[in-house]
Assembly symmetry: C2
């Protein structure tokens, strides 16, 4: 069961999206399905949530979300460019009004001085534009993943209310 804080965010998002006839899609890497699980923990979520592409492998990002392989080779799978391509790909593949893409280093391994554990990029693709945010989240693997999922849901709320 997802964390109560995530479920509360998902309930808020659902209320806004149903009221405005918006649909949502998700592309997840480090969160691994946590965002989709939180959203779908709320009854009635099928009225606005189309799906989540959990692309853990690089090939899945390329083939299922149309992330250019050159983007991963040049900037890495954890990069602003990859997050933006993931969000754009999820929005197009799922035919959603808005999609969010999340890629990060949840740890405990995989961090480097340039890309430490906790580094997370979240991108939001809407009808008009794609934006990206860079976060460095604190805590262990579970805490980083939950915080990344919460930030993605909060941004979806913010964008849907705008």
């Amino acid at each position: 069961m997802p964390d109560e804080a995530l479920v509360a965010l998902a309930e808020r998002l659902q209320g806004i999206c149903l009221g405005r006839s918006l649909t949502v899609g998700v592309a997840e890497s480090c969160t691994g399905g946590l965002i989709g699980a939180a959203i779908t923990s709320v009854p009635g979520s099928s009225a606005y949530f189309l799906g989540s592409l959990v692309t853990y492998a690089d090939d899945a990002k390329v083939e299922l979300l149309d992330v250019p392989r050159s983007t991963i080779e040049s900037h890495g799978a954890v990069s602003a460019q990859a997050a933006m391509a993931m969000a754009t790909g999820a929005r197009e593949r799922l035919h959603a009004t808005t999609a969010v893409g999340v890629t990060g280093i949840a740890g405990p391994d995989g961090g480097t001085p340039a890309k430490p554990v906790g580094l997370t990029y979240i991108a939001l693709a809407g009808p008009a534009e794609v934006e990206v945010r860079r976060l460095v989240l604190a805590g262990d693997r579970a805490a980083v993943r939950e915080a990344a999922a919460a930030a993605a849901l909060a941004w979806l709320i913010e964008a849907s209310e705008a």
Copy 2:
């Protein structure tokens, strides 16, 4: 954070898959990302877990998992046929050794006399064949979803050990 029982199953699955160089893909409907979230809660899961296609909308099942639209129209999205097509689609799209597909009615709404809340089909697609199991799971929405995710993980373990 996924339930501890799910994480324990994911840890067991990872140990077996790493030892035997197997890869795993997932297609989720009613579980909404819970299986992917449990698998990726374990550090090192990227060595065998390729991704999960959380296809909540019927169009996503058709377009992203190659479930024939005629299957959904004839048998419903919650059917043995749909589960088998989801597992097969996930295995092919993710290039996995084994993939599991889960579709069910988590409730509280959506049940009928023929397809009650708790009805869940889980299919497993491996190199040689596709099998499907029909379960009727007890409890509320959260309990049905957790039990469905646990059954899927347990079957992946069983198939990977065989």
